[in-house]
């Protein structure tokens, strides 16, 4: 069922930058969540990881950034390589230093720190001058002007959207090469969603930051991504160039809500639909 849309330009694709090979993840020693996931992110690209709730997107990202252990999860099989080196045994700190950072789903700001302090902690791994730090801060404020007005508030008291911006801004402060972005659009106003994806695009093209983003908002994700993977039940069930996926009938129906004659009103969807399952 895999659409091998990429075959044509396979040769021209850059060497794997981040690659995950056949990774299996088990939580709590008994709950098998990822059942052999493989995917690649070429340097300088935006790759989207799509899939329903509970498919294992976040788990995949966490297995890359090595945050799994803190949740009593374990990579029991497979390997993860970044720029040719195995990274599965590295601490998150080492990974961040190598340029891979994750923005976790559900915001996770430091509630008792102010917005500005939150951003500053983002630069923890870098040893830079005060001036440069300030510069970086300004850059983030430039991307998210809302944060600037709330800079002295404790993050715990800011609105959901503000926290999301704070989390992304904080990651930017680390000046990463590769960002693992988990559901960036969740809870954001449409305008901000667009803005955030514009920022992603911007960083990608201007600063050659690569992105692996897990998204539910398939429509927007596919619009900005170069390549996409679709996950179901802990497995990759489909992969392909973003524009190909966007035109695939199944994807259109199940992930974009478009059927034959274009978008259907939410009011009109009369019956619960059973998703077509690719596997298991």
């Amino acid at each position: 069922m895999t659409i091998n849309a990429a075959t044509a330009d396979a040769t021209s694709r850059p060497a794997p930058y981040l690659s995950i090979n056949n990774v299996e993840v088990i939580y709590d020693h008994v709950i098998l969540v990822l059942k052999g996931v493989s995917l690649e992110v070429p340097q300088g690209s935006i790759v989207a990881l799509l899939g329903a709730n509970g498919a294992g997107k976040s788990t995949t990202l966490k297995s890359i950034s090595n945050l799994l252990r803190a949740e009593r999860g374990d990579v029991t099989k497979g390997s993860i390589e970044f720029k040719g080196a195995r990274v599965d045994q590295m601490t998150p700190n080492e990974l961040v230093k190598r340029g891979v950072i994750q923005v976790m789903e559900g915001r996770h700001c430091f509630g008792h720190l102010t917005i500005e302090e939150n951003l500053l902690t983002g630069a923890y791994t870098r040893s830079i001058s005060r001036a440069e730090l300030k510069d970086n801060l300004e850059k983030v404020y430039h991307y998210f002007p809302r944060l600037k007005t709330r800079r002295t508030s404790q993050a715990g008291y800011t609105s959901g959207g503000e926290q999301q911006m704070c989390a992304i801004g904080r990651a930017l402060m680390a000046k990463p090469e590769m960002i693992l972005l988990d559901e960036p659009s969740m809870g954001l106003a449409p305008q901000i969603v667009e803005e955030i994806f514009e920022i992603v695009k911007d960083l990608n093209s201007k600063e050659r930051v690569s992105f692996l983003l897990a998204e539910q908002n398939t429509m927007v994700a596919l619009r900005y991504a170069d390549f996409g993977y679709i996950m179901e039940n802990g497995r990759i069930v489909m992969e392909g160039a973003a524009k190909d996926l966007a035109t695939n009938e199944d994807v259109k129906e199940f992930y974009l809500g478009l059927s034959g004659e274009g978008r259907k009103s939410f009011r009109e969807v009369k019956h619960y639909r059973r998703r077509k399952r690719w596997l298991s």
Binding site: A70, P92, N93, K97, H108, F110, H112, T121
Partner: protein
């Protein structure tokens, strides 16, 4: 009236000593959200290690017993032991328990308490020791002469030391990069990990600093009541100070200490006799409770953020 002041001043000064122990708790709580039950045991461990080295060093090195050289060497070695203890704690206890509920970490520090108490006594024996810092615990004469109020030299010294320690730690937390990272870790382990804050280092640092604070507290308390197992109980004195001042506030520890110290002494002296005395054991807690009802996060503690 002078009696009142005597009690008040005595109370304030002992309050500072409570603060010194409370400080160790605050450090660790602030940096990892862990309520370190082992703080009292660490105070004991530190003091015992110091005294132990003081006793064995002359034999090992031929230095003059009770001399300055031995004192400082013992201090350095005790400090080194505390740092090692801190690092080991991080490696063996905290690292595998990252991101676990606070109560689990709390319990782990209880296990640590047994461990530390056992190790301390297994190495140095269970004997009690005296400890002399060279500053007599006697009234300052000119105050005594002029106002007939007892103010102990030793207490003033200890209070100054505690004040300096508190001030520098407060600044450290508020204004340095590491200080900020510490606070971040306390809020959310996982998020801190995700942005590359090396929890391991941070925790090792904090536990080492807490070990240093424990050493200072141990020396001072040890000089006051001897180096013996009961030093672990100093922690009990620190608890009401903590809740009154707020678990997360370094200056809170000092202010809480002052309030608790002064009021418990005054209560014991003026209220105690009416109800048969011995109220010092619970009075600080009841007082702290009263404060908490007005400010549930302690005087200077961070407010608990509770949003929906």
């Amino acid at each position: 009236m002078s009696f009142f002041f005597e009690v008040l001043i005595g109370g304030l000064l002992s309050g500072v000593l409570y603060a010194l122990v409370a400080l160790g708790f605050v450090l660790i709580y602030k940096a990892s959200g862990v309520f370190n039950f082992a703080q009292g045991a660490m105070v004991f461990f530190a003091a015992l290690t110091f005294v132990g080295f003081q006793q064995v060093l002359p034999g090992w090195t031929g230095l003059e017993a009770g001399g300055r050289a031995v004192f400082w060497l013992a201090f350095v070695l005790a400090l080194a032991s505390m740092v090692v203890l801190g690092i080991l704690t991080e490696k063996v206890v905290l690292r595998p328990l990252v991101n676990q509920p606070h109560i689990t970490l709390f319990m782990a520090t209880i296990g640590l308490t047994f461990l530390v108490e056992g190790i301390a006594q297994a190495i140095w024996g269970a004997n009690v020791h005296g400890l002399d810092l060279g500053i007599a615990d006697e009234p300052i004469e000119w105050v005594m002469d002029s106002a007939d109020i007892i103010v102990s030299k030793f207490d003033v010294f200890a209070a100054t030391l505690a004040g300096v320690l508190v001030a520098s730690l407060a600044l450290f937390f508020q204004y340095t990069k590491v200080g900020r990272a510490l606070r971040a870790v306390a809020d959310d382990h996982q998020a801190a990990l995700s942005i590359g804050i090396p929890l391991q280092h941070i925790w090792a640092i904090v536990w080492a600093v807490a070990g240093f604070v424990a050493l200072v507290a141990g020396l001072i308390w040890g000089a006051r009541s001897g180096v013996q197992f009961a030093l672990t109980f100093t922690a009990l004195k620190a608890l009401p100070v903590l809740i009154l001042g707020g678990f997360t506030s370094v200056p809170g520890a000092i202010v809480g200490g002052l309030i608790i110290g002064a009021s418990e002494k005054l209560a014991e002296v003026y209220v105690g006799p009416m109800v048969g005395g011995g109220i010092e054991g619970w009075f600080p807690y009841v007082l702290a409770l009263g404060f908490l009802l007005v400010r549930p996060e302690g005087l200077f503690g961070e407010r608990h953020i509770d949003r929906v």
